[in-house]
Amino acid sequence: MNMNRRGQFFLLAALLLSFLLLLSLAAYRMYSPEPKVYIKRDWIQQAQLVQLARVWVKSDFCILCIRQTSLLLKQLNQTYRLNIPTLTNSTFRDRVLLNTTGYANYTVVFYYSRGSVRVMVYWSYTFQGFYEKKISPTESVVYKNYTLTYYHVYVGGWGSVTVYPSLKDPLEKADLRYLGGGEWIVGFPSNMTSYTLFDQFEIPVRIGG
C-alpha cells in the first residue's frame, strides 16, 4: 500500500514538474517571443547581401562606398540582431565599352563559414546600325541602334537565380524595347557617344564608348 502511494505521488510530482516547465516556457515565449537557443540563418540573410552587392555595383565599386556600407551593415547587424555571419568578400570588374560592341561584368562574392553568396551584374551590347526618327513632321534625327543583353545572377542558398531587371530612361531620349529574356533594343541620338540607362535598382547601364 505504501509503495503504491509513493508511485502515485511520484507520478503526480513528475506531471506537476512538466506542467511547471511548460508554463515557464510559455511565459518565456510570451515575454520574449524570439527563441534564443538557436540562431536562424537562412535565405533572408543572404538576400540582404545581394542588395548590398547591388549598392556596390551602383557605386562602380567605390572603395569609400564599400567601406561605409559594410560598416553600416555590421552596426545594424549588431543593433538589430540580423544574424548575418562574419563575412569576407571579393569584388571583380571586367568592363570593355566601345562604340560598336562592349560588355561589363561586375561580380561580388561574399564568403562566410558555411558557404558563399555570389552576385553578378552583366550587360553586353552590339551596334546594329542607324535609323532615322521623325521628331516632327519636318524634322528627323539619326539614331544609333543597339541590341542589349542585361541580367543579374544571384547564387546562394536558393541555388542560382537569374533576374532580368527592367530598364529606365531618365533622359527620355532613347527608344527602348524589351524583347524578353534580358534582351533589349536600344536606340539613342547619334550625336551622343554613349547613353546611360538605369535598372530598377538604379544601377547605371552604359551603352557605347
Partner: protein, 116 residues
C-alpha cells in the same frame, strides 16, 4: 472511493489536459510551414524588387495569412518610424532585415512577426 482518491484522480486529469494543451509550444518550431513560406516570400521580394513599403505589404500579405505585424523604419535624412500592420498575437517569430541604399547611412529596417 473516498474523497482523497477522487481529488487525486481529478488533479491527474487536469494536469494531463493542461500538459497536452501547452505541449504545442514544444512541437511548433521555426521549421513550421508559415515561417518557411514567409521566409521564402521575403527572399523572393528582396531578390526581384527594389523595396517599396506599399508593394511589400501587399505582396507579403498575399503570400501568408500568418503575419502578426509589419513594422518599417526608414532612415534617410530624418528618422521615420511607421507601423504598417498589426494584429493581436502572442506567439510569433520575428524576422528582421535591412535594405541598405547608396548614400551615407541610408537604410530601411523591416521587422515582421509571423504567428507560430
Amino acid at each position: 472511493m473516498n474523497l482523497g482518491r477522487f481529488m487525486e484522480a481529478c488533479l491527474i486529469v487536469v494536469v494531463f489536459f493542461i500538459f497536452a494543451s501547452l505541449s504545442f509550444i514544444m512541437i511548433r518550431a521555426l521549421s513550421n510551414p508559415s515561417y518557411q513560406t514567409v521566409e521564402r516570400a521575403v527572399t523572393f521580394y528582396m531578390l526581384n524588387h527594389p523595396f517599396d513599403e506599399k508593394s511589400f505589404k501587399e505582396f507579403i500579405l498575399k503570400c501568408s495569412s500568418e503575419i502578426a505585424f509589419i513594422k518599417v523604419k526608414h532612415l534617410y535624412d530624418a528618422e521615420v518610424d511607421i507601423t504598417v500592420y498589426e494584429t493581436e498575437c502572442y506567439n510569433y517569430v520575428t524576422f528582421r532585415f535591412v535594405w541598405i541604399y547608396y548614400g551615407v547611412g541610408n537604410y530601411t529596417l523591416v521587422v515582421m512577426g509571423v504567428r507560430t
